[in-house]
Symmetry: C2
Subunit: 238 residues, 2 copies
DNA sequence: TTGTATTTAATTATATACAATTTAAAATAA
DNA sequence: TTATTTTAAATTGTATATAATTAAATACAA
C-alpha cells in the first residue's frame, strides 16, 4: 500500500506525445470507477452473494486502495440497486426476491418493446450489418460451449438492438434492468438445450428489423423475452 | 465548522422511550443524503444551472460539511444523470438538451402506459379513494394560484397512480424520469390557462381507473402526457 | 439459567491532510 | 504583439485520522 494513486493511466513510462500521436492516452479511470466495475462484476457473477456485507476496510485491503474510492463506488451501486444500504451498518449485496425480479421483468418487457419499435424506425444500414454479424457470432460461440463467451456475444447482440433506438435514456435504463437479471440470464444461456431456439429467435429479430417491420419485430422480441422469463422463473424455483 | 456530524437525528434531547413508544426515532439521514437531496433540489428547481460547476470545497463551505459527503452525493447524482463528471475536473450540472428531454419523454410515455395498465388491474379500493381525494385537492389548489402548492398536489396525484402499479422498480424509474422534467413541468403547471384542462384530464384518469377500464385509462393518460409534452416543447423553444 | 448492564471491539460517518493534476497567471522569447 | 515557458493557485483524487455508533462479549444480578 504505497500511497500512490495510479489507475490504468500510463504514468512515468517515458512515453512522449510523438510516440502515439492521437492515441487514446485517456485510459485513465478514477479508482472509484475501477472499484465500481470490480464490485459490480463481482455481484453480477455471483462471486459476491446476496446478503453479503460489503465492509470498507476489507474491500480496501483486498483491492489495495483506501476506503474513499470504495465508499464512492458503493454510492453508485446503491443508486443502481445492486447494494442495499443500512445506515451506520454499511452496505450489503442486494437481496433479489422473486417479486423484485418480476418487477424488473415487467418493466423490461415494456422498454424492450419500445426499443425495438424505435429501432425499426431508426436503425442504420450499418447497424443492420453489425447486427447480422452479431447474430452469426452468437451462433459461432454456441459451438464453443464457452458460457462466458456465449453470454458476451448475447449481450453484444442485444446492445446493438437497444442502441439502434438512438434514445440515450432508454439505452441507459434497459442496460440497468438487464444488469439486474444478468445472473439468471447467464444460467439460462448456459443451458445448451436453449441454444437452437435462441439462435432462431435472434434470426427472427434480425430479419424483421432489417425489413423494418415493426409488428413482426415486436412479436419476435416478445417471444424472446417471454421465453427468457420462463427460463428464469423455472431456475428461480429450484 | 465544529466537526460534529449530526443530521436530523434527535440527539441529547432527554427523550426517553416512554415519550413516544413506537415512534419513528429513525429520522436520521446521513449527511451525504441530505447533501444529495439538497443538490438535487437545486438542480431541479434551476437554482443550479446546467453547465455550472459543482466545486467540492465551495459546496462544502456553503452547506457546512466536509468534502466527503459532498463527493458521495455527487456520485449518486452522477448515476442519476443529473450531473456530468469530467475526470480530474470535477462535476457540473448536466446540460439538458432538447434531444435528451425528448428521450426522457419517449421513455416516460411507455412507462406511464405500463403503470396505468398495471394500476387498473391492481389498484385497491383505498387507493381509488385516495386518488379521488387527490383530484379534488388538485382542483382546490388551482384556486389558490400558488404554483408550488399546485405542483405539489399534481405530484401527489401522479404518485398515487404510479404506486398503484405495485411494481417497485417501475415506481423508482418513473419517479426518476419525472424528476428530469420537473423544471419544465413546473412551468407548465404555472400556466393558469391549463388548469381547467388538467382538472378534467385528471378526472378522466380517475374515472377509468375506478372503473378498471384499462383501455380508457391508457387513452386518458396518453392524452395527458401528450399535452404535457406539447407544453414543454413550446416552452423549450423560447 | 435468563435477562440486563457494562465494557470492548469493529465499523461506519465525517473531517482533514497530502499528492497529483489542471487551470490561470506571469514571465520570457519570438 | 503573439507564442511559449514557467510559476503559482485552485481543484480533484486518494489516503488517513478522528468521532460516533453499532454489534459482540463479558460481567453481574435476578
Amino acid at each position: 500500500m504505497s500511497g500512490n494513486g495510479m489507475a490504468g493511466s500510463m504514468k512515468g513510462m517515458g512515453m512522449t506525445m510523438d510516440d502515439n500521436l492521437q492515441a487514446n492516452m485517456d485510459e485513465y479511470l478514477p479508482l472509484r470507477d475501477v472499484v465500481f466495475k470490480t464490485l459490480r462484476q463481482g455481484i453480477l457473477t455471483g462471486e459476491l452473494k446476496p446478503g453479503e456485507r460489503l465492509m470498507e476496510i476489507h474491500l480496501a485491503n483486498r483491492l489495495g486502495v483506501s476506503r474513499t474510492p470504495i465508499r464512492e463506488a458503493i454510492r453508485k451501486l446503491e443508486l443502481e440497486g445492486l447494494v442495499t444500504m443500512i445506515p451506520r451498518r454499511g452496505a450489503e449485496v442486494a437481496q433479489i426476491t422473486i417479486k423484485s425480479l418480476q418487477d424488473v421483468l415487467e418493466v423490461r418487457k415494456a422498454l424492450d418493446a419500445l426499443a425495438i419499435e424505435l429501432a425499426c424506425a431508426r436503425i442504420t444500414e450499418e447497424d443492420i450489418q453489425l447486427l447480422k454479424a452479431a447474430c452469426d457470432n452468437f451462433e459461432q460461440m454456441t459451438k464453443t460451449k464457452d458460457s462466458t463467451q456465449i453470454a458476451k456475444a448475447d449481450v453484444e447482440l442485444h446492445d446493438i438492438i437497444v442502441r439502434a433506438s438512438h434514445n440515450d435514456k432508454l439505452i441507459l435504463m434497459v442496460n440497468n434492468l438487464a444488469e439486474q437479471m444478468y445472473r439468471y440470464r447467464f444460467e439460462h444461456i448456459k443451458d445448451a438445450a436453449q441454444h437452437e431456439r435462441l439462435i432462431s429467435e435472434h434470426q427472427k429479430i434480425y430479419q424483421s428489423l432489417a425489413a423494418r417491420d415493426a409488428i413482426a419485430a415486436a412479436e419476435a422480441v416478445k417471444e424472446h423475452i417471454d421465453n427468457q422469463e420462463k427460463a428464469i422463473m423455472i431456475h428461480l424455483d429450484k
